[in-house]
Symmetry: C2
Subunit: 303 residues, 2 copies
């Protein structure tokens, strides 16, 4: 078994999704599922999360097929986390139909000993308090990325501030950046965050791509334009997972590596939205990835 390159902590769940094209019930979802699968094309990723006793064996089989390490995936008595949502005609805006936390409600991430000195760590969509619990277990990490959600920005100010202070990169979307910082202009909101700890801030803008901001550099990462979006669920997690997976595989945390990793994150996310759940990744090859990466580089080359 290859050495574990990175670990992702977050939700594992079953999603019920409705789009203008199709309806699907109880498909594999959750930030950890998407991020680890996305990362698996570049490195060996470990999953930290919890599922219920109803979680399908078939899903675990899929994770294993992607070479994901499951030592940190706990099965608890009860039902798996479930989320249901419906997408608007534009395939961007969505409405949550239901959220059943189930076993995720009492989740306290306990990392296997083998995970604690892993170099790259992604803190997914769990509460800042839980993110701090994870941080205290991965003292040897070289590079930690935290994702956040508007929910936590609204209710967990202090713990979130501590997370922000301790991580190398904060990933958040444009609305969250404005909500967190009170700054309406995106660059100003990024500088606000940089002043509080992280070396890197990445502001995600969905189908419009993302922006990387450091104290002295800016990069704009477009979303790779796809012919047909089938299901945008998890796109942000695929972006984050693809990003950190690439960075882990490359082994560098300098600006140049981070920029390149973001390009790969964008490419991986573009595959993810072309099918429901993890389905598109089953047929995606390294050559497909390189083809889109080269194409995306060309789309934004002006000289």
């Amino acid at each position: 078994m290859a050495d574990l390159g990175m670990v992702v902590v977050g939700s594992v769940g079953l999603d019920s999704i409705e789009t203008r094209y199709e309806k699907r019930k109880d498909v594999i979802g959750g930030s950890v599922s998407y991020a680890c699968t996305a990362a698996s094309f570049f490195t060996k990723a470990g999953m930290v999360g919890v599922v219920g006793t109803d979680f399908p064996e078939e899903a675990l089989k899929q994770y294993r097929k992607f070479g994901i390490d499951l030592a940190g995936l706990v099965t608890a008595e009860g039902k798996t986390f479930r989320w249901g949502g419906v997408y608007a005609e534009d395939m961007m805006h969505r409405t949550t139909r239901f959220t059943e936390l189930n076993v995720f409600a009492d989740f306290h991430p306990q990392l296997p000993a083998s995970y604690c000195d892993v170099p790259f760590v992604m803190l997914g969509n769990i509460s800042p308090e839980l993110q701090l619990e994870v941080l205290s277990q991965v003292n040897g990490a070289r590079f930690v990325v935290a994702d956040t959600m508007d929910l936590w920005i609204n209710i967990a100010d202090e713990a979130l501030a501590e997370v922000i202070q301790k991580v190398d990169m904060l990933l958040l979307n444009d609305d969250e950046a404005r909500l967190l910082t009170g700054e309406h202009q995106l660059l100003q909101s990024a500088y606000w965050i940089l002043d509080r700890g992280p070396r890197y801030v990445v502001i995600k803008k969905g189908e419009h791509g993302a922006m990387l901001i450091t104290k002295d550099a800016l990069a704009i990462i477009p979303a790779y334009p796809v012919d047909k979006v089938v299901d945008p669920t998890g796109a942000g997690d695929c972006f984050a997972g693809g990003f950190l997976g690439y960075l882990t595989g490359r082994g560098g945390t300098d600006l140049r590596s981070v920029r390149e990793a973001l390009l790969y994150g964008s490419v991986i996310a573009s595959f993810g939205v072309e099918a429901f759940s993890l389905e598109r990744f089953a047929s995606m090859t390294p050559a497909d990835i390189e083809e889109r990466a080269a194409h995306l580089r060309d789309m934004v080359r002006f000289d």
Copy 2:
């Protein structure tokens, strides 16, 4: 006097604008004002439009300072076109307070003889019927760009279809592209348009930049991120004017020239939003433009 390189037809007006920072009354506005001023950094641009007898001499002086040719600007008995709007906190969404067409209501563009063989033409926000009237007067044009608006998509299907068939490039925003084509996926909407005539389609996405689509190429032009947006009014027109001005100055209409021109359009628009009306252009230098162009190229260079 330098030869006229391009002509812009559209609205000239006085805008009353309210943002979270400031209110301004009756400042110079309209698509032609913005586009010609933006273009003036690269070429000699001619203005085709109408103003009322109340249009301030000071505004004309400003146009002249930018070297804009005013032979096509007619003064009609009556009041100048006026628009009033207020921007939301996010500085992107806006609400129209009032629209007074005034002399613009009876506008029929009549091009001076010297304009009729100008090589580059921009058809701004006038009705497709009027755009066709202009097209019949500029038979010698090498490259025609049409801008459109949701209003015309809703009410002037046939004339708009004829415009689309006759122009080299259609510029429209993402919502308009969906409305016009009935396609929700942007790439599909662009292919729908390309099938109907133009060689180039540019879909504008406001603060997220724009996308160029041809039958066999894609380019993504980010918006140059500015520290502080003071007034986004006219940004799309500055983008279009900067684009066509650069293209005119360069003299090519091949893909490479068009891509480069879009980068410059983005740069010019970024200056435009940093102040009300045309104010920022008064202090902008060619060196400022080149600096941002180089910076923007770097932001999206991944290799």
